[in-house]
């Protein structure tokens, strides 16, 4: 592990694994699972939350564009992000990843 980000990702996986305890078939049922991709989406979302609340956008479209740009930097698109976001309320594991990514607050 060569960076803080790796450590954070490991922590996110650990939290996600803990969150799976008590969730029937965490890896094989309809409950959305936590993966490396969902960890990346959580990182993107956490960083974006900091950026959005610290910026005054001229147009609403600029808020969307900021998200699309951040996703593209990681090879992801808005449809993937939307599916992931909609799954959070049904996936304690993915919600735990996002909570972990946001745990440090904003710089």
């Amino acid at each position: 592990l060569s960076s803080d980000r790796d450590l954070r990702r490991l922590a996110a996986f650990a939290l996600a694994a803990l969150a799976c305890v008590g969730v029937v078939g965490c890896g094989g049922s309809s409950t959305p699972t936590a993966t490396a991709e969902t960890a990346t989406l959580a990182d993107v979302e956490a960083a974006r939350l900091c950026a959005v609340t610290g910026h005054a956008y001229r147009t609403e479209a600029e808020i969307d564009a900021d998200l699309v740009e951040r996703l593209a930097d990681h090879g992801l698109d808005r449809a993937q992000w939307k599916r992931w976001h909609d799954s959070l309320v049904d996936s304690p594991a993915r919600a735990a990843q996002l909570a972990s990514a946001s745990a440090g607050g904003c710089p």
Binding site: L49, V52, T53, A56, L88, A95, S102, C106, P107
Partner: protein
């Protein structure tokens, strides 16, 4: 130098990091993570955001905001409220944000505060039909205001070209630099034999998207030029702009006019 120092100080004070709910988990079902917005200028319109954290799954999240002293609020997609960016639901122990379109009048100074009213349902709402009644809370968002120092607008068109053979429309483009310019009107004068016309046979032209130019936006004013009585060559078109920011303003500019055969 004092002004720059003041701006830097105010920006630094306003740049309060977003609270981390994990550091000390709030007892409330819904917690506002930032009560202080980024600074705005009087006269500015901008989208500001407030972050929210939920202790457990919530749904049907809605926020309305009310300003004072002429501050007005708009919502995404022309709605009468704002929800969360991702959806109207928020997973437990995660955060999402709400955005508003805030317009601050030029008469405002120092800071302004929005009153926020928040409603939601506990649980996943219609997904699981386990709501336990509408919840609500009131909150506030303080917006620091900084005075604007700088140019009002920048003319982006330096040259236009028309044919001597027939009258034609040309556009002169402007970039808004002040927080907002209102009642924008432009007139042009050129060589004695040039005939300048305006949209609707008016006495002046305004901008394509209306008479308001917001800071950071670009828009163009159209002029109809009849150069049939001029010899081919280069001329100077004198521009006069009037508009309102914190009061009536005037500006002037020049455009190189090329008359083609």
């Amino acid at each position: 130098v004092k002004r720059v120092g003041l701006v830097v100080l105010l920006v630094a004070l306003a740049a309060v990091p977003l609270a981390s709910p994990a550091a000390a988990e709030p007892k409330l079902e819904v917690t506002q993570l930032n009560a202080l917005a980024v600074p705005m200028f009087p006269g500015q319109t901008a989208w500001l955001s407030v972050a929210w954290w939920a202790r457990s799954n919530i749904s049907n999240f809605a926020v309305t905001a009310t300003g004072t002293d002429g501050v007005t609020v708009g919502y995404p997609a022309g709605r009468s409220f704002s929800s969360l960016y991702g959806s109207a639901s928020l997973a437990g122990r995660t955060a999402d944000f709400t955005s508003f379109r805030v317009t601050v009048p030029y008469s405002a100074s120092r800071s302004t505060t929005l009153s926020l009213h928040v409603t939601w349902d506990q649980g996943n709402g219609s997904k699981r039909n386990d709501t336990s009644g509408k919840k609500e809370m009131d909150a506030r968002l303080t917006i620091p205001l900084l005075p604007y120092f700088g140019p009002d607008l920048t003319q982006r068109t330096s040259s236009v070209s028309v044919s001597k053979a027939e009258p034609s429309w040309v556009e002169v483009s402007f970039l808004g630099r002040a927080p907002s310019l209102h009642d924008f009107a432009l007139t042009a004068t050129g060589p004695a034999d040039l005939v300048v016309g305006y949209p609707g046979d008016g006495a002046a032209t305004s901008l394509a998207d209306g008479s308001t130019l917001l800071g950071g936006a670009t828009d163009a004013a159209a002029l109809r030029l009849d150069a049939s009585a001029l010899a081919p060559g280069s001329y100077v078109l004198e521009l006069a702009e009037t508009y309102t920011t914190s009061g009536p303003r005037r500006a002037t500019g020049k455009v190189n006019l090329v008359v083609r055969p």
